[in-house]
Subunit: 311 residues, 2 copies
């Protein structure tokens, strides 16, 4: 695992009264910045445009320096970021952007940028941050094992198991598994640069646009079912390889009417009674997220809270 | 998670000097029983035939009672068992056989059978037990995240992440994901009772026998490649959903010459450079198990050791 924090740390917050949390939701077009107190209450929130790594992180650092000037010193940072970024705390690449794709970001280091604050830092992928936020404060509340998946420009999942964000030597890449495709029904070659017709290559937003020239809001019932069917195989892979008690599916593709319902029905049909908890109406098992655009920054705050209390 | 024990507990063993471990590898045809000391050294080993749940567990109980009479009291039990069995310690079904399939086992309880010893008990699936044993003492030694898969009568995997056996609300069911199948090359409908052509339905020992009337020892290169290809998709699912740094593939199907090599090559081909650690010769990444038939009982002993030290 990369992150363990047993749920809501409000109780422990009292032990570090006065210390604040700096939180970053790092996205490809904008960075959302936040300062919260130790129990997660928002004190100040900002937003900067994403430029080069060096420029963007310098601006973020200045924002936190000014905010700390006004409100008090920062005891920990939590960051939920686009990737690829090192999220293994034992690795030299922790908090380092690894992409050679995004111009001006390769080898940019969050740890270096935030070093002046001398505060510990928890770094996670954006999807893992959202998964944590949804588990603690959103659609996963009260569940033991939550798998959160976003289906948009890409497809990715985060799994939170009894308060801990799951990960191996790096974050999961669930969108890149291959799922059954019947070329007689869907001859589409897929859009994934690496894999063509992996799940992301067949069912992400860009795959839908490339295949039909429109998104799912203008899709037929058959088109909805086709995309939901690919996602149902991902859903079954998550079920089989993580045994969650709740699946959350969000992102742009899931917004279209009928996708979530079709995903539920097809997931149940594929499991085919093998696992009793998935052999029922799945309205309460497979659900939409609840936090919307706030999931990322809420997740980042929670990552920081956990770091503040030694997690 | 269902089990957390940070690797070798020999250091802590000293704290409970004198307490012994009772270990059971519970299989469909035989139960292997063992008594070890706190550092895992075998003291005595036995074997009984698997009959009804009540008879078998009574005989196991008597064996341990006699062994304890000779060697000293049992401080903890570790059990690696066939399933389905409850492995969630928070559930009322912990250590209870859930199968209605195996005659005379439904609702048989290990906890009830071993109650006379008043010792804590760690129960895991047989695959998870073997995964733990291979990680600590076999082909996974020195690796952070090990995914162990057995391909035989069925297909199942256990994942050990930094010393902890991973699990959600129950153990994983990796054999039951669906993998791409080209009916022009392999029109076989699959043998899985529930799913037909899930991975287990296509690539398990019975699937191979049903399709060709012989096992892989008499197979052509094309047949080997077909089966290894299905397993490569499972391998990619494990890689994508658990990010292990080592995969172990064992079981009868993996014994045939060429299967492991083909699995390595096809796994690399499917990942297609997306994850750098899998874009290399995979001889050291995907390996055979090392412990052979002893993996189950060694895993059971380790489960008991962990329980003895409070894990």
């Amino acid at each position: 695992m990369d992150h363990r924090c047993a749920g809501d740390a409000a109780g422990q917050g009292g032990a570090v009264t006065g210390a604040l949390i700096g939180a970053i939701e790092a996205g490809g077009t904008k960075f959302v910045l936040a300062l919260s107190d130790a129990d997660g209450t928002l004190i100040e929130r900002g937003r900067i445009a994403t430029r080069s790594g060096h420029e963007t992180l310098a601006e973020a650092r200045d924002w936190f320096a000014a905010a700390a000037e006004r409100h008090g010193s920062i005891g920990a940072f939590g960051i939920a970021s686009f990737g690829p970024i090192g999220i293994n705390p034992d690795s030299a690449d922790y908090g380092v952007y690894l992409s050679t794709v995004k111009p001006g970001w390769h080898r940019t280091s969050l740890a270096e940028a935030l070093a002046p604050f001398a505060a510990p830092m928890a770094v996670q992928s954006d999807v893992n941050g959202a998964a944590l936020a949804e588990t603690l404060h959103g659609a996963g509340r009260g569940h033991q094992v939550v798998a959160y998946t976003t289906v948009g420009t890409g497809i990715g999942s985060g799994v939170v198991n009894r308060g801990a964000i799951m990960g191996g030597i790096s974050h999961y890449e669930t969108g890149h598994i291959h799922v059954p495709q019947d070329p007689a029904i869907d001859p589409f070659a897929g859009v994934c640069t690496y894999h063509g017709n992996c799940c992301e290559g067949l069912a992400s937003g860009p795959a839908i646009m490339a295949r039909w020239g429109h998104d799912l809001s203008g899709a037929s019932e058959q088109q909805i079912a086709l995309i939901a069917g690919y996602l149902a195989h991902l859903s079954v892979a998550l079920i089989s390889l993580h045994r969650p008690d709740r699946l959350i599916f969000g992102g742009g593709v899931m917004q279209a009417a009928g996708v979530l319902d079709s995903l539920r029905q097809q997931t149940r049909a594929i499991v085919a009674g093998y696992l009793p908890e998935w052999d029922a109406d799945l309205s309460e098992r497979i659900v939409a997220p609840e936090l919307g655009h706030d999931a990322g920054i809420i997740g980042a705050i929670e990552l920081g809270r956990c770091k503040l209390t030694g997690g």
